[in-house]
């Protein structure tokens, strides 16, 4: 007994000491040391959680800049990065228990409705956002508001949906994607591509695990299946039916494939893109950073345009995805936290980091037309693609082309049913669109009635 216990202890000691020694060696050799707290000790202390290290790095820089500008109102923030789902779970648990939540926190848009409902424990940011409000994209503020319009989250980006084209493929087959204006044109181009490439290259891939296409179509029609903050939920919309019917037809005609792993923002689908199997897809502007980070070899091959529409004159974009940053009711100086947060994410100083470091389309529209901000060749995205992204944004601003689809308390249920059941039935099983949608509506009526 003693012998094996000794063995256990000795063995584990050796192991742990070994690792600790390793770890120390690591720091000594000049590798970057971990920074989790930024700012002077006598500053007002906050705790901030995020699910992305890069976000925290951005915030850390904004703490330093803030402290440089406000010597009398110093702040100090301790940062934590958690796994995506776990951070939201933890935040939920902590807010439910009324104890243990951070002062400031990132919340992903799909998770946001869970925190914005009745008795929401989030601080009203209206006052802090007031100086920037006029310049910000309104729909982005709305999605992070309570049903009564109280602003409770600061947006990071617009997430304007655009069309990504593998221009190299179209050039290879001598096809012109630039003249595509409507979905009919788009379908016709798909036929040509199929013929030219012998069915090797698909025009696009349709999603079974994402609703981006539906959002785009709804924005074009000016419809919204959530029914807005007041409801009621209704999926039996022309925009939804027409989009799904058209996509099902693409699959039948061999123009499109089903997105590997469900949607384009997956590792599987990125492999499809790298293989050159799909030639175009609509996605939010933040997808540009995926190209830079995960598909660097695609540099120079891709073009970005506005999306096709059903009829000319419709809106042609919609804001998708995003992160709302909130101040919780556990914060001891919420006014200061809110002021810093609004400044960090909406001021020109902050937006410069968001565009140059994170690669997002910023919410502060006053900066879109700022030559130096938007079109600098130093920004990698201005050279990676065959177009400067802010040119498209300015065109959208001019045409007032960015529609709104709400993310409401009903959205998680709705999204869940569409992505697990309806889209699979339509695209994999080939079920009739009308029938599948009716099934979805029946489920939602039952679920949301109670």
């Amino acid at each position: 007994m003693k012998k094996w216990l000794a063995m256990l202890l000795a063995g584990s000691m050796v192991l742990s000491m070994g690792t600790v020694a390793f770890a120390e060696e690591e720091t000594e050799s000049g590798e970057p040391t971990d920074v989790t707290t930024v700012g002077p000790d006598d500053g007002t202390h906050f705790e901030l959680w995020s699910f992305v290290d890069l976000h925290n790095t951005f915030y850390a820089n904004m703490v330093e800049e803030w402290n440089a500008q406000n010597p009398d109102r110093q702040i100090q923030i301790t940062f934590s990065t958690y796994p995506f789902q776990d951070m939201h779970n933890k935040l939920m648990m902590a807010l439910q228990a009324g104890e243990g939540a951070p002062d400031i926190c990132d919340i992903e848009i799909g998770q946001f409705p869970n925190f914005s409902g009745e008795n929401s424990p989030l601080y009203d940011l209206g006052e802090a956002l007031a100086p920037y409000e006029a310049d910000l994209v309104q729909s982005r503020l709305d999605v992070y508001s309570k049903a009564d319009g109280t602003r409770i989250g600061v947006p990071t980006h617009v997430g304007a949906t655009v069309m990504y084209w593998n221009a190299e493929i179209f050039e290879e087959y001598g096809l012109d994607y630039k003249s595509v204006k409507t979905w009919d044109d788009y379908t016709a181009l798909g036929e040509q591509l199929k013929e030219a490439s012998n069915g090797e290259v698909y025009l696009t891939s349709v999603d079974t695990g994402g609703t981006d296409w539906l959002w785009l179509s709804m924005a074009e029609y000016g419809e919204d299946y959530t029914g807005g903050p007041e409801g009621p939920v209704n999926v039996m919309l022309d925009s939804v039916k027409n989009m799904l019917t058209m996509q099902q037809q693409w699959l039948n005609d061999g123009i499109a494939m089903v997105s590997t792993d469900g949607h384009t923002d997956t590792d599987g689908c990125r492999a499809t893109i790298l293989d050159g199997k799909i030639a175009s897809f609509p996605k939010a502007m933040w997808y540009m950073s995926r190209f830079k980070d995960y598909m660097p070899e695609e540099e120079g091959k891709w073009d970005i345009t506005i999306c096709p529409v059903w009829e000319e004159g419709q809106k042609y974009s919609v804001g998708i995805g995003g992160t709302g940053t909130v101040v919780t009711n556990e914060c001891e100086d919420p006014a200061l936290a809110a002021e810093w947060l609004a400044w960090a994410k909406c001021s020109p100083e902050g937006e410069a980091h968001i565009w140059n470091d994170l690669g997002f389309d910023v919410c502060n529209t006053a900066l879109w037309s700022d030559e130096e901000f938007a079109y600098s060749e130093d920004n990698v995205y201005n050279t990676f693609f065959r177009v400067k992204p802010y040119e498209l944004l300015n065109q959208m601003a001019e045409d007032d082309a960015i529609g709104t689809v709400y993310t409401t308390a009903n959205s998680p249920v709705l999204n869940d049913y569409l992505c697990t059941t309806t889209l699979n039935e339509i695209f994999i099983d080939g079920m009739d669109v009308e029938t599948a949608l009716q099934e979805c509506q029946d489920y939602l009526d039952m679920e949301l009635m109670m």
């Binding site: 439910q96 869970n114 008795n119 424990p121 492999a271 998680p412 869940d416 109670m450």
Partner: protein, 301 residues
């Protein structure tokens, strides 16, 4: 002095020994359990609770997702029982027979998957059964001249992956349980079997099988609980709680979805209570069927 004497007496000692268990039972089991049951009759929203009677339960029995989840869990449990009892038993018998060489090596290799976390093993299986062109299963399909398959989208192939993960991780462990069971069987029984002219099958049927019953009961018990509360395996294979047409949704997965992903704690607690009832019923049936209820008494003699 007197107090010390009482504390050291043979009468009091057992209570001292079990004291930590009683405390832990009250603090970390009974209290949360009762809170959970109470919450299943409430609506909980950021610390504000309101009584809503049996509304959660009424909704539960009309909820098609919940029905799917219950059937998936029960089916998974039943299938794992079918796979994880007979196969390890036969393998263990074969391994302990004089026929197998180098059995120490095989035992170690077969046990290793159990040492990996579900996170990594689930990830390995997800990549293996990926619908992309480069997943190992699709590479094998290509070798056989077949087109790629979307393994995890269809119920049958998706479940094959799920069950395979279970078999992969736990076969080695169950084999070990049976090997231990076999070791405790008196070899003289087989010798007398030989004398009576029994063949291998008869020896297995009339000596090995009955004497392995305690092992089988133990393996079934742990498999029932593990099967009913399976969640992480499905969560890893389908990269989250949303599988195509909910083929991978389990009871605990649904509890997690409602309580944590959707912030409906009261409803989630109702799901939990139903799960507990199902587990207790199955447990009861199994204990009666196998006669384990007398286990405590048998010990005494």
């Amino acid at each position: 002095m007197k107090a010390k004497k009482i504390l050291y007496s043979q009468k009091i000692a057992p209570y001292v020994f079990v004291l930590p268990f009683v405390l832990s039972l009250l603090i970390f089991w009974l209290y949360p359990l009762v809170s959970g049951i109470v919450m299943s009759f409430q609506e909980v929203s950021f610390g504000v609770t309101s009584w809503i009677g049996t509304a959660n339960y009424q909704k539960l029995f009309r909820d098609s997702f919940f029905t799917t989840a219950v059937w998936n869990s029960v089916e998974y449990m039943a299938l794992t029982l079918l796979l994880m009892v007979p196969i390890p038993m036969v393998l263990a018998v074969l391994m302990e027979s004089r026929l197998t060489k180098a059995r120490g090596v095989w035992k170690v290799i077969m046990y290793i998957p159990a040492l990996t976390s579900v996170v990594i093993s689930g990830l390995l299986f997800r990549l293996m059964f990926s619908e992309g062109e480069n997943g190992q299963m699709n590479v094998i399909m290509h070798m056989l001249g077949q087109p790629s398959q979307a393994w995890l989208r269809a119920r049958f192939t998706g479940w094959c992956a799920l069950l395979l993960l279970c078999v992969w991780r736990w076969t080695g462990v169950n084999v070990l349980y049976y090997v231990s069971g076999l070791k405790s069987i008196d070899t003289s029984l087989y010798e007398s079997g030989d004398i009576d002219g029994a063949n291998a099958w008869q020896k297995f049927r009339y000596i090995t099988l009955p004497l392995l019953k305690p092992t089988t009961v133990y393996v079934i018990t742990i498999s029932v609980f593990a099967g009913l509360s399976m969640f992480l395996e499905s969560f890893m294979i389908w990269a989250g709680n949303n599988s195509p047409k909910n083929i991978g949704l389990t009871i605990v997965g649904y509890l997690y979805k409602r309580g944590i992903e959707r912030n409906e704690m009261g409803y989630a607690c109702a799901v939990g209570v139903v799960l507990m009832v199902i587990a207790l019923v199955i447990n009861f049936i199994q204990l009666v069927a196998t006669g384990t209820f007398h286990i405590g008494k048998k010990k005494e003699d």
